[in-house]
Symmetry: C2
Subunit: 299 residues, 2 copies
C-alpha cells in the first residue's frame, strides 16, 4: 500500500489542506481563509485529526508556506513564518505545532520550493534537475531546484525583489514598500491593478498593460537565466492565467538574450518548451506540499 | 603520499599551468599569453609532459576555462570552448586533447566555477555550501556552488549579463555588444576605462568612478542575493584590487536591500564577512583548477 501523506498549502490569503498518495489520489481537499494564526492553524490541526480517523495514519506531512520562513534545521526557530508584514503572523511557529501534535516527519519549505519540487516529481520539470518555479500573483516569488536539490542558501530566494530597469514611459511608482523598482513592485497583480485602475482579469487581452507586464517579466527572466541557468522556467500564479502573456514573455526574453547565451531552448523553436505553465496547473501548490511530505518521509 | 594534480587556468589573455597537491605545495607554475589555440594548447601539453617526467605521474588534471564552454558530459562537444568572440577559439575542444594525451580524469569547468570550488575547499568559502565567486575584470562572470555542488544547469551562469537599471546621470553607452545595460557592459574594466578615459588602476581612490562602479556592482549583487540566496559573496578579479571598493559595495548593498531580507549577514555588523575578497587571493584561479582536478579524481 502506498504511504499516505498530508499536505498544507499555507498561503497568505487561503490555506488548502489535503491528504493523498500522489496526483491521481488527492483526497478530501479543504480550503479556508487565512485568519489569525491560532485560529487558522487550529483549523488545519483539526482537519488532519479528522483525516487520520477517516483515511488512516499519515506517514508524513508537507507544508508549503508563505514567507519569509526559517528553513535552518539547526535553529530553534525552524519551521516559523518570520518577518512577514501580514498582521499577527510575524514569528509564528508553524511546522513545530504539527510536529508536536502528530509526531511524524514534517517537510516545511516555501510554497514556491514546494511547487518546484512537485513540478519536478509529477509536472513540467520531470527528467530535469535545475529549474525555477516563479509565481506571479499577489506577490512574485521563486522556488529553485538545482542539481535535484531545493535551494535555501542564506535564507531562501526572494526572486520578486530583484531590481529592474524601469521602462522610460512607465511613471507608475511601484507597489513595493522596500524597493522602488523591483520585479514584484512593478509586475505583481496589485501593480497591474493600481497602474491601470482595473484588476488583471478585467484588462482585455490586447490592452497595453500586457505588453508592459511581459516586458518586466522578461527582464526578470533574463536575470534569472544569467544567474541560475535553469533548464526550464515554470511560470505560475494568477497573473499568468492570461494566456496572451506566455507568447509575449517568450518573444521578449529571446530579444533580451539577443543570441548571447546559445542553446536550442533559447531559439524560436525551443522557447515554447523552455518557458512553460505548471504541468500540475492550479494544483501545483497543494501537490508541491505533498511532494514535500514525500521527501520528508524519505529522509 | 598525497596525489599529484595538474592545473590549468585557461584565460582569454593568459594561460597558467602548475602541478601540486594543494595550496601549500603548488610547483613549477608557468604562464604564457593565450595565442592561437593549437599553439597555446601545445604549450600546455608540453608543460605537463615535462612536469610528469620531473614530478611523477599526475592523478588528474583540472582545467578552469574562459567561456562559454560545453559542460554537458553526454555531448561529444563536452570540454570545448564554444561560441567565444575570441578569434580562432570558437568550437575548440580543450579537455578532450588532454584526455587523449594523458588518459587521466579531467575536471573541466568554467574558470569561475573552478574558483568557487577552490574557495570552498581552501579559501573564503570553507564550511559553507552555497556561494558565488564573482570576478570583475576584463569581463564579469560568476561561479556558483549550491548545496555543495557546482551549478551548470542549461549551459552555465553568465552572471555578467544581467540587466541593470542605469544610473540616470550616467550617459555612457556600455561596452557589451549584446546588451545595452548589462552588468559587464557597465562595470567591467573596459567600461571604466572607456567611461573615464583612464585605466582602472590610474583612477584615484576618491574619483567618482568608484562610487558609480560600486553602485552598479551592488545592483548586480542585489539580484544575486534575491535569486541565489548565497551564504557568502566572494568578489575577485582585477577591478576589485581597488581596496576602496569593498566598503562602498557593502554599504550600497545594505541600502538596496533596505532591511527586506533579514539576516545577521545583511547588517552593518555582518556585511564585512558576507562580501569578501578571495581567501586564496590572486591564486584563486590556479588553485580552483587544482580543486577541479581533485574533484575529478574523486569521481
Amino acid at each position: 500500500m502506498k504511504p499516505l501523506y498530508g499536505a498544507i498549502e499555507a498561503g497568505g490569503t487561503k490555506f488548502v489542506c489535503a491528504v493523498g498518495t500522489g496526483p491521481e489520489d488527492l483526497r478530501d481537499e479543504v480550503r479556508f481563509a487565512t485568519g489569525r494564526p491560532e485560529e487558522t492553524l487550529n483549523q488545519a490541526l483539526d482537519y488532519f485529526r479528522r483525516a487520520q480517523k477517516k483515511h488512516g495514519k499519515l506517514t508524513a506531512l508537507g507544508i508549503g508556506s508563505f514567507g519569509p520562513v526559517d528553513l535552518d534545521p539547526h535553529l530553534p526557530t525552524w519551521g516559523s513564518v518570520t518577518a512577514t508584514p501580514k498582521p499577527h503572523w510575524a514569528d509564528t511557529p508553524v511546522a513545530p505545532l504539527f510536529d508536536k501534535e502528530f509526531g511524524i516527519p514534517i517537510g516545511f519549505d516555501t510554497d514556491v520550493n514546494g511547487a518546484v519540487l512537485g513540478e519536478h516529481r509529477w509536472g513540467a520539470g520531470q527528467g530535469l534537475d535545475t529549474l525555477i518555479y516563479l509565481t506571479i500573483g499577489t506577490g512574485i516569488g521563486g522556488g529553485v531546484m538545482m542539481n535535484g536539490q531545493l535551494l535555501h542558501g542564506l535564507v531562501h530566494p526572494e526572486t520578486g525583489h530583484i531590481l529592474l530597469p524601469r521602462d522610460p514611459a512607465d511613471s507608475f511608482k511601484g507597489t513595493c514598500p522596500f524597493h522602488d523598482n523591483c520585479l514584484e513592485g512593478l509586475a505583481a497583480g496589485p501593480s497591474l491593478e493600481q497602474r491601470w485602475g482595473k484588476k488583471a482579469p478585467e484588462l482585455p487581452a490586447d490592452h497595453p498593460a500586457w505588453d508592459l507586464e511581459a516586458h518586466y517579466l522578461a527582464l526578470g527572466l533574463q536575470s534569472i537565466l544569467c544567474i541560475l541557468s535553469p533548464q526550464r522556467i515554470i511560470l505560475g500564479g494568477g497573473v499568468m492565467e492570461q494566456p496572451q502573456l506566455f507568447p509575449l514573455v517568450r518573444k521578449k526574453l529571446l530579444a533580451l538574450n539577443n543570441l548571447y547565451i546559445r542553446h536550442p531552448s533559447l531559439t524560436p523553436a525551443g522557447i515554447d518548451s523552455y518557458i512553460v505553465p505548471p504541468g500540475l496547473g492550479n494544483r501545483a501548490g497543494i501537490l508541491g506540499a505533498l511532494a514535500l511530505a514525500e521527501k520528508a518521509a524519505q529522509k
